[in-house]
């Protein structure tokens, strides 16, 4: 299964990651609304890496399960990790002066959302959107 | 099937079939099939037992074909699947009892094993046919529901109405939202009236979908008015603590249109002769 990975190091890689995401979402057959959802989710995840971990990776791939296809987005970094997972998933909680819609937003935009983070070790996030 | 067992069944064929037809009468009553005429009922049962017993002689494949044709007809007639599976259970009992009768314990296990896998095969075919037909029905109904989903109707310049009818689930809500927004852009609507007269229940989820839709409409640059709020809906909305205060609402489409006209600086005038 083809997988596209983008190394996140600068603001430009955020653009690169979401463009890669849009391309794959289109290939899988998502409509314009879901394309926007996936692209936006990738943008949020990539920006989080850039803001908090400085360096990390976004991987986007097509996934096939029993009788459905979808797009899986994985974000991983070896940054500072998240201290209080419950709080970052609350709407409006921000440490960067943003809208605080990032992670809870990604969770709502995608169908599946898994986050694993250890303080001092880094953060891994998997999110999947299924084709309806 | 082993030739020895097949031969045995073949010799007892008449007894098995008669015994089964008698016993299956009990099942009939449980499944409310009394209103089917005796003639049709007996014939169908006879045909069924024929097909199953034919499998012994002709082999599974040709039986499968007959069986699926037969099942298709039963589905159309509306015979419940549970009747057929119960019927087959009875059949298995009848056939084992008959075969064991004069075997005096010889080869019991072999017979049991052969009959078991034979009947299982038939049950599988039946269940497959039935569930295939159900899946098909569900698919068709889904399509029908999709077609029912909410058209946006332009009524005046810059004013459109979206009547919602029936229960709104998440899937439908998404579709409605997309229709609504695309329609707003297509018709260049400034005001959209969402009419919920035909929505039987407004719970927190439905209300939430409607609120989200109206927020999205506002983002693309139009306004929403919620109309058709019946007394019982107003009661549930307030009892559930749903906040619709940010959201213009009217009791009827007529009143909604009046305020939509106002919002777009229009009015309807009577022509004086």
């Amino acid at each position: 299964m083809s997988q596209t990975c983008v190394e996140v190091r600068s603001e430009w890689s955020i653009v690169a990651a979401r463009q890669a995401g849009r391309t794959i979402a289109k290939e899988v057959g998502f409509g314009s609304v879901d394309q926007a959802r996936i692209t936006t989710a990738i943008s949020e995840l990539a920006r989080n890496i850039y803001l908090y971990a400085k360096v990390g990776e976004i991987c986007i791939e097509k996934v096939v399960e029993a009788n459905k296809v979808g797009v899986k987005v994985s974000a991983s970094d070896n940054g500072p990790g998240i201290k209080d997972l419950r709080r970052v998933m609350e709407d409006g909680y921000t440490t960067s002066g943003g809208l605080g819609a990032g992670l809870p937003g990604v969770k709502r935009l995608m169908d599946e959302f898994l986050i694993d983070s250890k303080e001092g070790e880094g953060t891994k996030i998997h999110a999947v959107k299924w084709l309806r | 099937m082993k030739p020895s067992v097949a031969k045995l069944i073949e010799t007892k064929r008449e007894i098995i079939s008669e015994d089964w037809l008698k016993k299956v009468e009990e099942v009939r009553r449980e499944h409310h099939l009394e209103n089917i005429s005796d003639h049709v009922y007996t014939n169908t049962n006879k045909e069924f037992v024929e097909i199953i017993l034919n499998a012994v002689g002709q082999g599974q494949e040709s039986c499968d074909e007959q069986l699926s044709g037969f099942t298709e007809r039963l589905i159309q007639l509306g015979w419940p699947l549970s009747y057929l599976t119960r019927g087959l259970q009875t059949f298995r009992k009848v056939i084992l009892d008959t075969l064991f009768e004069d075997q005096e314990g010889k080869g019991d296990f072999e017979i049991y094993y052969e009959v078991e896998s034979w009947v299982d095969e038939i049950v599988n075919t039946l269940v497959n046919e039935y569930s295939g037909s159900w899946e098909n029905t569900v698919f068709l109904q889904k399509m029908a529901l999709k077609e029912l989903s909410a058209p946006l109707i332009p009524v005046f310049e810059h004013i459109s109405v979206m009547p919602l009818i029936g229960t709104i689930d998440t899937e439908r809500a998404k579709l409605i939202m997309e229709n609504l927004l695309n329609g707003v852009i297509e018709h260049r609507s400034q005001v959209v009236l969402i009419d919920i007269t035909g929505v039987p229940v407004v719970d927190t989820m439905v209300a939430n979908h409607i609120i989200q839709a109206s927020e999205a409409v506002r983002l693309v640059g139009a306004d929403c008015i919620l109309v058709g709020i019946r007394p019982e809906i107003a009661q549930t909305i307030v009892n559930l603590g749903i906040d619709l205060s940010k959201f213009p609402t009217k009791s009827t489409l007529k009143k909604g249109i009046a305020s939509a006209l106002e919002m777009t600086q229009k009015k309807i005038v009577k022509i004086e002769n």
């Binding site: 609304v33 394309q35 692209t39 943008s43 943003g98 937003g105 | 997309e178 260049r188």
Partner: protein, 118 residues
């Protein structure tokens, strides 16, 4: 990359035609405020017809532009937000309350006129 800002009488017109990266968005924020200051504009229409997605960062920059322009005495209307973009924003819980919107440039200009007159 810079987003061109056009002047039409006492209004400023902006049509965002490129994919907004963070730097461009921030540059745009600065440019538009300077332009309002230079021209003494009373209203701004930002057309987003060709923007196919807005994430929380860009939404915040746009919301900030509206608030900042208001402080400087210029009303801002966002126009042409695409359905897919609107749905995504609502999904994320970004409702941009207090930001006036209109369907397209034409209706946006009308809305500005109404707001400034009324």
């Amino acid at each position: 990359m810079r987003i061109p800002i056009l002047k039409l009488k006492e209004y400023l017109l902006v049509s965002v035609q490129i994919e907004l990266d963070d730097q461009t968005a921030l540059q745009f924020q600065e440019d538009i405020l300077n332009k309002i200051h230079e021209e003494g504009s009373r209203g701004v229409v930002i057309d987003l017809t060709s923007v196919d997605f807005i994430d929380s960062f860009i939404a915040k920059v746009l919301g900030d532009v509206v608030d900042m322009s208001n402080l400087m005495g210029a009303k801002v209307v966002l126009t042409g937000i695409q359905p897919a973009v609107a749905i995504t924003l609502v999904d994320m819980g970004i409702l941009m309350h207090g930001v006036p919107t209109a369907l397209d440039l034409e209706q946006g200009l009308e809305k500005l006129q109404q707001e400034l007159e009324g």
